[in-house]
């Protein structure tokens, strides 16, 4: 291999990697918009009347869970074991977290700690 060829290969490799990355990163979102169904599932928890509903949510690995606060009072959704932590959610504000590992994730509202719930990821 000549010196010049080595240089070309050195430049081409990062470019190829970048293209591959773009391809993989881009494909799920393209799919999602094409058939109206995300490849990874979504699930919702509604905060209403100082209650997380449903209190136990069971989802497959890879699910993105979105909490929405429907109360006139701010709440949070914070993992008891420090896995996830929302900011303070005022009325109608949302927080999402994607669960990539199976397990049981208890959480609570740090402002009203009597409010508890859990996400079971299978």
């Amino acid at each position: 291999m000549t010196k010049q060829n080595m240089w070309v290969a050195g430049l081409a490799t990062p470019v190829l990697i970048a293209m591959l990355l773009l391809l993989f990163a881009g494909s799920p979102s393209v799919k999602a918009s094409d058939n109206g169904k995300a490849s990874a599932a979504n699930a919702a928890v509604k905060i209403d009347n100082f209650v997380f509903g449903p209190q136990t949510l069971t989802v497959p690995v890879g699910t993105t869970v979105t909490w929405t606060n429907s109360d006139d009072i701010p709440h949070t959704s914070v993992s008891t074991e420090g896995v996830f932590k929302s900011k303070v959610l005022d009325t109608d504000e949302k927080f999402s977290y994607t669960f990539t590992k199976a397990g049981t994730y208890p959480y609570y509202c740090t402002i009203h700690p009597k409010m508890t719930g859990q996400v079971v990821v299978q």
């Binding site: 100082f50 006139d72 900011k87 303070v88 700690p113």
Partner: protein
């Protein structure tokens, strides 16, 4: 009507003395809210009478008082939902009411939830309004709404100068020992309010060596007695506090958080919660949740209010007067 009210109150106080607070007691308590009440502690025996709305009749309560102070609570500056679209205006009304008192209070205690979301602009507005009070000395303890996103750092910078830990402190005023406690920090999942080990140790030490005849006033945001666990209306480690103050002859506990008047007497300890200056909350168990309660606009000022506490040296007692803003 006034006699009926008086009977109701006396009956209720008896109930409280006999079997603590039950649900029936709560519902009766709600009959007081909005009408106000004069409540005097004398040698551990509560004497109560319906609070006359005219300030002229009210002067008796202050007669011979060595000093008085005012408690305000739960201003929730920044809240703008239907339960009260203008909480700044109702706080202003509360300050106006303090300024119109026949006797100028020595200081004001704010028992927390000054802000709705711990925003600097909300604290700024609160500061601006309370600056207009005839009384310049104000003591604060935080509510959970004042320590939302930064572990209370901003609160401590603004209101916690000279305090310890998450904002607790004590001071003496004309022979009465006041202790401001913080039970809204580092709350645990599934629990209620909490003081924590460090604060309890400090409190024990703070009270140690004080004469049992020193009147003690404890104030904190969440009630230091269990009112309604389902809604988190209580403090998990409050029993320990009560064990420290048991030996004192007169202990008054002032709280906020539940946006309504509740009272309980346990031995020589009298517990009292204040009305909010912002919006009312439902009586325990009477609504799906503790969220803000919407009342007709013309009734709002009857369920918001301030609490005037008079210390009478001769009687060695504290008289607590709750006045609705619209009274």
């Amino acid at each position: 009507m006034p006699d009926k009210k008086l009977d109701l109150i006396d009956q209720n106080l008896q109930d409280l003395n006999n079997d603590g607070v039950d649900r029936r007691g709560f519902l009766k308590c709600m009959a007081w809210a909005g009408t106000g009440l004069v409540w005097t502690m004398s040698g551990g025996i509560p004497v109560s009478r319906a609070f006359a709305k005219s300030s002229g009749k009210n002067k008796d309560a202050a007669k011979g008082a060595d000093f008085s102070f005012v408690q305000i609570s739960d201003s929730h500056i920044g809240f703008s939902k239907p339960a009260n679209p203008d909480v700044t205006a109702t706080l202003q009304t509360a300050i106006n009411k303090i300024n119109a008192m026949p006797h100028t209070p020595d200081f004001i205690i704010h028992t927390g939830d000054m802000s709705q979301l711990s925003k600097p602009s909300e604290f700024d507005t609160l500061d601006q309004v309370v600056k207009g009070a005839s009384t310049k000395q104000i003591y604060f303890v935080p509510g959970e709404h004042d320590m939302l996103s930064d572990n209370g750092e901003q609160y401590l910078q603004r209101y916690g100068k000279g305090t310890k830990g998450s904002g607790w402190s004590s001071f003496d005023h004309k022979g009465v020992h006041f202790v401001g406690l913080v039970n809204v920090a580092n709350l645990k999942a599934g629990g209620m309010g909490s003081l924590g080990h460090e604060q309890l140790e400090w409190l024990e030490d703070d009270l140690k060596g004080r004469s049992a005849s020193t009147p003690i006033v404890l104030f904190a945001h969440i009630p230091l007695w269990t009112i309604y666990p389902d809604w988190g209306w209580g403090t998990d480690d409050s029993e320990q506090v009560l064990s420290y103050v048991k030996r004192f002859g007169s202990v008054t506990v002032l709280n906020g958080h539940i946006h309504q008047i509740m009272q309980k007497i346990e031995g020589k300890v009298s517990f009292h919660t204040a009305m909010s200056t912002a919006f009312p909350q439902p009586a325990p168990g009477t609504a799906p949740s503790a969220g803000p309660m919407k009342v007709p606009a013309e009734q709002l000022q009857q369920v918001l209010g301030i609490t005037d506490v008079n210390y009478v040296v001769s009687g060695g007692s504290l008289a607590i007067v709750d006045s609705p803003l619209g009274g």
